[in-house]
Structures are given as structure tokens and as C-alpha cells.
Symmetry: C2
Subunit: 337 residues, 2 copies
DNA sequence: TCGGCTTGCGTAAGCGCTTACACTCGTCTC
DNA sequence: GAGACGAGTGTAAGCGCTTACGCAAGCCGA
């Protein structure tokens, strides 16, 4: 492995000049820069990350804290983040918030403090007070995305508006008896209802229903296909069943579609179903949904953390909400007369 | 941030002893170790990753090269890897093989050579000769998983056996006219048919059909739901349609199920469908599949790279194949008489 | 013509660890 | 009782970069 000294010798300059020429920090003449680059290329020189990081304090690496790595939504967001970070030379190291509390504590108390990252992106994790304090103590830029508490700020969709938009779509079709499948408040973790995504979707639903003078129905469920199926089965087996179901995620909506098929209801003739997310399969299943552009969310988060890391200490702009859009497909229609 | 010196001073020993006491390398008396630990805890000391890595040459970090981060299969494997690495204190940095050739080259020529990782796991990427050479030149342990070429070795399922098992399940039910939806050989990238996963599945299919004296049908498609749907539509619209479809992935099988529904065929009465993977939704849809336990694959890959990194240069055992299992559900049944 | 600026580069002091080597003691062994 | 040995610790030399500071040279305006 060629070192800085090798390059310096080959180019006939000092190591300081090589460092400056290659990194672009400080001044070097055009001619020197070219000579150094040529020498570096000839030797196949690549700077050691640890040496560079030790000397400069910059790691060129962003930590991403995710719950549940194997969920489509997070994987997609991650892809969006990577698409912004990689071209800028930043690596991504992935921290999975483990179920095991010991490992979880270790992440915040040790791993993150090793100085390996220049900034942290936190995805949808319900952090405890202690964890938020630990993150603060890092004195690193932090960008949250869809966090269920307000402390860290961060990017977010106007989830209440999402819930309202979905509900108004169904109301606009003429539905009055609409059920919402979502996550119950305080379901695990120290969430704040004012920020928690499922709670806000539900609030939007309830507000829209109230405005329309309709009575909201709600069934709690976890954010999985199977959870959505079970919740929908419960709803659809009841004596009076709703004419429409608004599920808080596309995956839950798939479960509802499955439940409808099992019970023998036709969608959308007998039942309208819609979800939220913009999941890969939604188009195929013809699912009406609120797309929240998770890939773009990841891109935004990536840009935000880069700005914060490069930045002059200016906090990340978290004021404007992330976009969403109603995508009308085949699973929603007016109720039967 | 407390440094080694601070701890040494607090514990009344030299920095060397602190380093030894905390890392467990070299000898220290029980009493000293306790004293050092106490001092370190009191100061909230955590060793700097870059300093430690620079001095020792160990990064405690594994690079994972993935194509298509947002595919369920890879996300699940990644989760499996993380579940093994995190408890051992290893971080994971994620390298997405970008579509852009410039960035792709940069990954192998620069990023990976910065000395940030102790080992590399490569997931299902069709590497070029140059990339394989670059990986070799790193002189780091490499563990492949499902690689479409033989050069790097690595873990793999006996995909031919998978194809055979799936086909024999359908043959055993009495099907003779079975179509396979898979990826055509050489579909993008320098793959070797002898190692390429889709090709091997197809070979297993053809071999089983030949053994049964049946005529195989094959339709190429990419590994997506939509691709599977299109391929199935083509098959099912033909004058004589197969009685069973064996799709090379669960996602393609979902597409086939959708196609059947669109065309008005009942599954499994009019058409049997099966896939491969063990996808999250398979159980819900009642899809018969060959589960290949992707999470466990990730765990194996994680263990293998840890062994290789810790190891005495012994190559990773790649001889035994990874397990798979037929999971019979509701989408396969005997053909109608 | 001269002081002051800018530009380009070298010198050298770290950054915060790890570890080879040396040293001091007890403990054994014969 | 002397020599050998191992256990526990300290000393100090790096690991391979970055960058503050200093210096020389060229340039400018007054």
C-alpha cells in the first residue's frame, strides 16, 4: 500500500503538499496538483481512512439508525439516502436498533461514541429520553425522519394531512361508514401522540370524519400484512360492516384485500380499500394509496445530513413538510347504492 | 471526550496498561483491570475508532456490497448479517453497487481501499473480472453469497436442487405441462451459467422435467412482480396453457397469481403456482414456495466473515450448501382431470 | 522603490491509540 | 541458594495522515 510519503517522494514535493493537492484544502498550484495526481494514480494511492479521520476529525461516514431493517419502507428510504451520500464520497454505516436492550444501550453509549460517524440519521425509532440525551451528547448533526417525538426535530410528512386526504377521498366517493386500521397510541416506546406517525394519520382520519359528520371506526393493528388481515377480518365479520377501509400502510391494506377475498367480498364493489406508502406492489394490486415517496424522503435526509455536516452549524431546515400524493387506483370506488 | 491518557492518570497506570486492560489483549492483573475499568466508566471513556484502527490495523467493521438495497431478499439477508455482527462489536458499512459505472468503479478502486473494513461480504452481485481482481488485491477476507460466478467461492444454495425440488413437487401432483418463469442466462453482467442462481434453478427444472419425460417450457422475465405478471399473461393467453407455473422467485410468483386472477383462472384449481424464496407475504397468499431462509443465510455469512477476520488465514468453509425447504401451501394442487 | 499582500510550499507537531521491548519481581527448579 | 522463568507493567516508537505556522518569492499600489 502506497503511503503519502511515497507519493510525495514520487512527485518531488512534501507530504503536506500532497495532502493539500489531493484533498483540495489549502492552496496548491495547478502544475503541482497535476504532478501529485499523476504520482498518486501511478502508485494507486488511496488515503487511509483511519489516519485521515484521526488527523482531521472528519470520518466521511454517516450513521443510519434503523428499526427493522427488513421492512420495505426502511430499505427504500435507505436506498434514497445512499443515492445522495455515495456520490459525495460518504459511506453509510448501518445501526440496527436491536430488540435486546443491552445491545441497544451499547449502541448509544459506546458504538456511536467511537467517532466513526460525522452525523447520524435516525429513521422512525421511538427513542427514550436517555437515548435522545446520548445523541445530543455526541455533538454531531442529527437528522430524524418520521420520528415519533418532537425533541430531535427532523423531517416529516404532515401525517395528519395524509390521514385527512385519504379519508376525504373515500368521503368524496360517497362513503360514510369508513374504518381505519392503524396503530394504537403508545403502542410500545415513548412516543408523543403529537408526533407519532400512526397517531397523526388517525387524527387526520377522525378530523375528516368529524367534519363530514360521519362516525369513525378504528381497529388497532401492527404494521404488517397479517395484522391488517386480522383487523379487516374482525371488521368485515361484524354485523354491520364498513363500506370502506383506510389502512395506515400499504402492507396492512394488502392484508385487508386478502381478508375481503377470503370473506368473499369484491373490491371495490362491496368494499373500498386504501393504504399509505406507495409500496412497490401497490400498482400491481391496483391499490389506491397515499404515496409518500420514501425514496425521495431518503434523498432529502441524505441532503440534510450532508448540509449539516458541511454546514456552518446552521440547523437543518425542518420546517417544510415532505410531499405526499393521493394515487387513485382500482380498490376504491363509490359504495353501492 | 476523555482520552486514554485521562483514564491512565485516573487509574494511576500507564496508557499501555489501560489499553491492555480495556481490550483484553496482553496481560494485566485482575486488580488493575478492575481499577482501569472503573476509571474508564467514571470518565465515560470510549476509544476512538480511528486512532485504534490506525494503530492496530483493525477496523472492527465489515463492508457489505449489495445490489438493489430495496429488495426484500437483500434487506432480509442484511438483517441476518447484522444480527451476527452487532453483538461482536462489528459495524456494517453498506456499499450499494450503483448503476452508474463511474461510481461502481470508484467503489472498488477507492472506497474499499481506504482501509475502513476488515472484511467484505458480497451479495449476489455479478462482478466483472476487474472487480474480482480489485477485491483480491484488497487482501481482505471476502465472503460471497449467491454469487453468479465461481471465482470468489462463497456460500450458496444448491440452486439446481431447488429447481428440481420445485419441479418434482409439481410433477408429483400429476402436472406434466409445467412452465418455468426465470431469468435468461447472461441477462446483464458477466455471470457464469454454472454458478448463476437463476440459471441453476432453470437447469434443475429442466433436468427434473427430462427425468419425467415431460417437455419443459420457459419464459424469461426479470425478478419483479410485474415481470412475473407479464410472463404469466403471455403463458396463460397461449392456445395451450400450462397447468402449473414454477416461478424463480416469490415476487414473480405473485405476479403470476395476479395474472391468473386477471385472466379469470382459479388457483390452484385451474393453475398451480409456486415460487422460491420464503418471502414475507408468501404465507398470507398461501403461496407454495421453496424457502431458502434468507435471514439464516445472512447469519451464516456474518459468522463466516467473522471467522475469516479472526481466523488464522483459514479460508471460509464453502463446501456445504445452504439449506432450503419446500413449503406446501394453497397455490399448488393436482391438475384437473 | 518599498512595504505589505498573496501565493505556494515545507517543517513539524500532533491526532489517540497499540504494541514491541525492556524491566522488575516473585516463584520454581535443581 | 542461584538461575530460569513467567507475570505484570512502563517506555516509547510508531500508525499515516492533516494543518498551524513560517518562509520565500512574486505582485501590487503608492
Amino acid at each position: 500500500m502506497a503511503s503519502l510519503d511515497d507519493v510525495a517522494r514520487a512527485a518531488g514535493v512534501s507530504t503536506a503538499t500532497v495532502s493539500r493537492a489531493l484533498s483540495g484544502r489549502g492552496r496548491t498550484s495547478e502544475a503541482t496538483r497535476a504532478r501529485v495526481r499523476a504520482a498518486a494514480d501511478a502508485l494507486g494511492y488511496v488515503a487511509s481512512a483511519s489516519a485521515s479521520s484521526l488527523a482531521s476529525g472528519r470520518a466521511e461516514n454517516i450513521g443510519v439508525i434503523v428499526p427493522l431493517m427488513d421492512r420495505w419502507f426502511f430499505a427504500t428510504v435507505l436506498d434514497g439516502i445512499a443515492s445522495r451520500l455515495a456520490p459525495r464520497g460518504y459511506d453509510i454505516t448501518l445501526y440496527n436498533v436491536a430488540a435486546d436492550p443491552g445491545q441497544r444501550q451499547r449502541l448509544f453509549d459506546r458504538t456511536l461514541r467511537r467517532g466513526r460517524v460525522d452525523g447520524v440519521i435516525v429513521l422512525s425509532v421511538a427513542l427514550t429520553d436517555a437515548e435522545i440525551a446520548a445523541l445530543d451528547a455526541l455533538e454531531l448533526p442529527v437528522v430524524g425522519l418520521g420520528l415519533p417525538r418532537g425533541e430531535l426535530g427532523g423531517l416529516r410528512v404532515d401525517d395528519t394531512a395524509v390521514g385527512r386526504a385519504a379519508t376525504e377521498h373515500l368521503l368524496g366517493l360517497g362513503h360514510r361508514d369508513i374504518a381505519h386500521i392503524g396503530q394504537s397510541v403508545d403502542a410500545g416506546g415513548p412516543s408523543d401522540p403529537a408526533y407519532d406517525v400512526p397517531t397523526r394519520r388517525r387524527r387526520g382520519f377522525e378530523a375528516a370524519m368529524a367534519d363530514a359528520g360521519a362516525t369513525p371506526r378504528f381497529v388497532p393493528s401492527d404494521f404488517t400484512v397479517e395484522g391488517g388481515r386480522r383487523a379487516a377480518v374482525a371488521l368485515l365479520s361484524a354485523p354491520t360492516r364498513p363500506t370502506a377501509i383506510f389502512a395506515a400502510s400499504d402492507e396492512m391494506a394488502y392484508g385487508a384485500l386478502t381478508a375481503a377475498r377470503e370473506i368473499g367480498l369484491r373490491v371495490p364493489e362491496d368494499l373500498s380499500v386504501m393504504g399509505v406508502d406507495g409500496h412497490d406492489f401497490a400498482e400491481l394490486f391496483g391499490l389506491t394509496t397515499i404515496d409518500q415517496f420514501p425514496h425521495a424522503q431518503g434523498e432529502r435526509a441524505g441532503e440534510a445530513i450532508l448540509a449539516a455536516v458541511a454546514g456552518d452549524g446552521e440547523p437543518v431546515d425542518t420546517s417544510s413538510s415532505l410531499p405526499f400524493a393521493l394515487v387513485t387506483r382500482r380498490t376504491t370506488a363509490p359504495p353501492r347504492a
